[in-house]
């Protein structure tokens, strides 16, 4: 890399961006792969129910399945947007 390139470079190098993106998507795909068969469908349906009442970003929802000894723990994490009114018409249905 030339010094000129270096001085002009403002953005993160693209290889580092590629690695970060891959780390995130592979981790997500692994958790889908290792979980039970019904997990993806259940996730989808849970998200549908939640989004009927609150407007949430899909990125703000995490569904994890953990194992603790004999016990399986389903963890649903939803970050609700601040000061957001609930979707009234949907809730009323």
């Amino acid at each position: 890399m030339s010094i000129l390139d270096y001085l002009l470079r403002r953005q993160k190098r693209s290889a580092a961006v590629a690695k970060d993106r891959l780390q995130i998507i592979l981790a997500r795909e692994h958790s889908d792969r290792d979980g039970p068969d019904y997990l993806p469908a259940m996730k989808r349906e849970l998200l549908e129910v939640v989004s009927r009442y609150v407007e949430v970003d899909l990125d703000k929802i995490q569904v994890n399945l953990d194992r603790d000894g004999d016990c399986e723990i389903l963890e649903l994490n939803i970050m609700l947007p601040e000061g957001e009114e609930p979707i009234k018409h949907a809730a009323a249905q």
């Binding site: 890399m1 010094i3 190098r13 290889a15 998507i25 592979l26 795909e29 692994h30």
Partner: protein, 270 residues
């Protein structure tokens, strides 16, 4: 005991067929009796890369359906007595590949060969699963590029779940090897390409080799002579090293660092 090796990747165009041709040729050069099978039914190409396309009479599907014997279908390589090619069919559908049929053919080949190299089609459909089902070892061909890495990860999941060794669970799981192809040390050094350690970290399997991007690979497939025959080519040499490592030798990685440049050219990036 004969060993079944699958060369796979998920993504197309990363160098599976090239890798198959070179590993098989390299094993034959090392006096191992080797057969290489094209599992890409309907899109036969290994024959072209190996330079035997005009000698195809019968194919893998003919053998599976009992229309030809293995002896009739196997094509002996022009350059090596130890190497045979079993071409894919060009016309028939993928349903010809049944688990039982493929198993029978492999069992028969095991009687007379040391290595059976399976060239997987792209994708994760039947042909790809059949190519890896009976494997003892897998070479996962990956380009240092996002879609190739992701697809390789997918294929690793399939190796771990849908292969015979995974299903039966009695033997060791398939031994996996990472082969990075089309690697450009220069682009890695300027941060434009995922490095060897990045790809290894992401996929988490041991590295068997790195094939540098090189013009000689295209020239080799143009002429139907696998690049491993070209002793001057760095890609050819890199494949020779891969084969040696496959046979248990300890070879340091070559052609993975950028060539040294003068200070001036570094400064101005010429």
């Amino acid at each position: 005991m004969a060993k079944v090796i699958v060369v796979t990747s998920g993504k197309g165009g990363v160098g599976k067929t090239t890798t198959c041709a070179n590993i098989a040729t390299g094993l034959a050069q090392r006096e191992k009796k080797t057969v290489v099978i094209d599992f890409d039914i309907g899109l036969r190409n290994l024959d072209l890369v190996m330079g035997c396309e005009r000698r195809v009479v019968y194919d893998f599907v003919n053998v599976l359906q009992g229309e030809a014997s293995l002896k009739q279908a196997l094509i002996r390589d022009k350059r090596s007595d130890n190497l045979y090619v079993l071409p894919a069919s060009q016309t028939r559908d993928k349903d010809a590949l049944t688990q039982e049929g493929v198993g029978k053919v492999l069992d028969e080949l095991k009687e007379s060969f040391d290595f059976i190299v399976c060239d997987s089609p792209a994708g994760i459909e039947r042909g790809a699963v059949m190519a890896l089902y009976y494997a003892d070892e897998a070479v996962v061909v990956t380009n240092p590029e996002v879609s190739s890495v992701r697809d390789s990860d997918r294929i690793l999941g399939i190796l771990a779940a849908k292969s015979r060794r995974a299903e039966q669970g009695e033997e060791e799981p398939i031994k996996e090897h990472l082969l990075i192809t089309r690697y450009s040390p220069r682009r890695v050094s300027i941060g434009e390409m995922l490095s060897i350690s990045d790809v290894q970290e992401l996929l988490g399997i041991p590295l068997i080799g790195v094939i540098p991007e090189s013009e000689s690979v295209l020239q080799a497939s143009n002429s139907g002579i696998p690049v491993i025959h070209n002793e001057k080519s760095i890609s050819g040499q890199a494949y020779t090293d891969v084969v040696a490592r496959f046979l248990g030798e300890n070879k340091p990685m070559r052609f993975v660092d950028e060539e040294k440049k003068s200070l001036l050219s570094r400064l101005f990036g010429t």
